[in-house]
Amino acid sequence: MDNLTLAKTKNTLGVSFDSSTGILDLTGSSYPENTAEFFRPLITWIQTYFLEVTGNLNLNVKIDYLNSSSIKYLSDMVDKLENYHKGGGKVEINWYHKEDDEDIMEMGQEIKEDVSFPFNIISV
């Protein structure tokens, strides 16, 4: 399975999904022109990983800003991880936020409420 790498831009996230390690990194800000067009390949990659690789998955989220439609797609991604975990897969999210960024911290806390796998909120 191929890795998925997208360079960070002013309004789209940097993406590094590694199929050999199961380590997925999301960095930066997200308010794309077409949110669905940006996030669909990411969600498809994760679904393919669950089917073909069936390995552990570690998602590192280091975001500065998400618009509302990006929040919705990220939430969808987390739901896919939760389903994988419920089916016996090993999943973990590390959610990073700047010390003074309550917004991103609270966003992480709300997502954490709805998952049963390890979800670490880390202040940097």
């Binding site: 309004n11 308010y31 509302s68 990006s70 969808d76 309550e102 917004d103």
Partner: protein, 185 residues
């Protein structure tokens, strides 16, 4: 110009306009405006205020781009909505205002939606937010369908919503209000 009075509603009080825009609300504008916010307002707003202003501005501008009935076709033949946006500040509040034209058939649904959101308390808003995250966006929604809901949650205030009729056209004004705390300076 009349002097602001003590009993005036907040939006009539003296305020400093930090940013004003009128025109096409496409993604290029969002990128430019976000850069401008991050580069120019660090000294004026606290980090927390800056994040909320960025979020609300982005949602209001994007809403106009998606849903304004006044549209202009760009080079790539995509029609983008037009409207006006203003970021203003006074001693106690940050006011983010968008004005755009809507179609008569959009009015009832929009009014009903905003009045409903404005009537909810924080817990009810959170429950609705989580429910909407897990449901498909409505067919007529071009975003995530949670923008206004999130503006209310992040500002911790109802959005101010007014309708104006001008020459058979309907204009909707949406105003997000961020109350400044004393230690914000």
């Amino acid at each position: 110009m009349t002097e602001p009075q003590e009993n005036d509603p907040p939006w009539k009080r003296s305020e400093e306009i930090l940013y004003e825009y009128e025109g096409i609300c496409d993604n290029k504008l969002l990128v430019k405006f976000t850069e401008h916010l991050l580069n120019s307002f660090e000294q004026v707003l606290t980090p927390q205020e800056l994040k909320i202003v960025m979020f609300c501005s982005n949602e209001l501008l994007q809403n106009m781009g998606f849903y304004s009935a006044e549209r202009e076709e760009l080079d790539d033949k995509v029609a983008v909505g037009k409207g006006s946006y203003r970021l203003a500040i006074n001693d106690s509040e940050i006011l983010l205002t968008s004005v755009n034209m809507i179609l008569p058939q959009q009015l009832d649904k929009l009014t009903e939606k905003i009045n409903y959101y404005n009537s909810l308390n924080a817990e009810e808003l959170k429950a609705l937010y989580k429910q909407k995250l897990r449901t498909e966006s409505p067919e007529d929604s071009k975003g995530g369908g949670i923008g206004i809901l999130e503006i209310i949650r992040k500002t911790k205030n109802p959005v101010r919503f007014t309708i104006n009729y001008q020459e058979n056209k309907i204009y909707v004004t949406l105003q997000a209000i961020i109350r400044r705390t004393t230690d914000n300076g």
